[in-house]
Amino acid sequence: MYSLIFRRLNSTAALPAVSSRQLISPMAIPALKSVAPLPFKSPEAKRQRKRLLDRPGLIGVKRGMTQFYSRNGDRVPATVLEIDQVEVVYNKTLDKNGYYAVQVGYGHKLKNQTKAMLGHYRNAKVSPKETLAEFEVKDENGLVPVGSQLKADHFKPGQFVDVISKSKGKGFSGVMKRWNFSGLPATHGTSLAHRSAGSTGMNTTPARVLPGKKMAGHLGDEWNTIFNLEVLDVNAEKGYILVKGCVSGSNGSYVEIRDALKKYGSHILQDK
């Protein structure tokens, strides 16, 4: 108890900004400057809560499926992803953009390029690209020099990757196809409503359809991530990688390939 009082007196006397004429209670607690915590919803706080990877991924094109024989003769289904003319176009940094990311481009396309985009490619000293994708990385060590080429040997056989692509569009679909509803009975008086959804809610209470009710609507043509696909084979010279299993989208669609986030990703906050 004595020691506490003594420290308070001492600290008041040691305040540098206070002039000697000022009268300050010896029991006053000096002002302490503390760092304001980040607002929970601020972009920086969100970034620190995210699971991020150490290095960027690649853009590929889905070319089709085949099968692959492992060493012990097991047959496994494999998807062929082409990696050709992949270059780094831009690096995003914390100071300028609020996060670290690598912008990667695929292929070569001159038609229908705007002047703004042509200037963007000229600054990077790369040819105009067919498509661009952005891969967020944890810190500046993950950035890749602009204009450098990324090849298929970015990944190694045996490691796991995530493949992000757009699924095939199915148009306006009913509830049986879109949400796996059972439909209405085939007989017992069902009339022209065999594939219908049935009831969508209650009567007077609540007298409305609750938000989020599963109904008919547009199906497919949305971004889909397939996590943890094993890399079976890599060939940088011929420009392809084989991953085990299927990938969303039709042949010829662009896919983003990155290290498996759930296996190799980590948080900024936990590192500190």
């Binding site: 070319r63 089709g64 085949t66 099968q67 024989y69 003769g73 047959r75 062929v80 082409e82 050709d84 003319q85 270059e87 070569h108 001159l110 002047k115 042509l118 200037g119 490619y121 000229r122 000293k125 790369v126 040819s127 105009p128 080429q149 010279e237 011929k238 420009g239 392809y240």
Partner: protein, 133 residues
């Protein structure tokens, strides 16, 4: 506006799936014997109704009557059916599997049935007979 030249295309612009198919055949079937077995232009090809013996690298040979030949590149396979103590037994043999060493035709039928897939003979009076070696 300055436009930079693109990087050279890999494989000289050859379609990737064509290259993969060639590379897989080269790896799994360097002599071309297995491809000949299912080639439609080959009169000595495997057909449904043939009685064959499949020799493996690491297990005993398997005998049976072919009831299906599936042609799909390196995923091609044949379905063998046999009777063992009166019980029907079927084995699917992926012919490009590196463990399959060779496939010998033991006997051909006097006349072939008019279909490639003989699923309908299962458990009927047309079913395959037990192969006696």
């Amino acid at each position: 506006m300055t436009v930079y030249e693109p990087l050279p295309k890999l494989r000289g612009g050859q379609p990737l799936m064509d290259y993969i198919r060639e590379a897989q055949y080269k790896n799994l079937d360097p002599s071309g014997e297995k491809r000949k077995l299912i080639d439609r232009s080959n009169p000595e090809r495997l057909r449904s109704g043939d009685i064959v013996s499949v020799f493996y690298k690491n297990q005993k040979p398997v005998n049976g009557t072919i009831i299906m030949v599936k042609r799909s590149g390196v995923a091609s396979s044949i379905l063998l059916r046999n009777k063992i103590t009166g019980l029907g037994v079927e084995v699917n043999v992926p012919i490009f599997n590196p463990n399959v060493m060779r496939i010998d035709i033991l006997r051909r039928p006097a006349s072939y049935r008019p279909r490639n897939r003989h699923y309908y003979i299962r458990n009927s009076r047309l079913d395959v007979k037990e192969i006696k070696m």
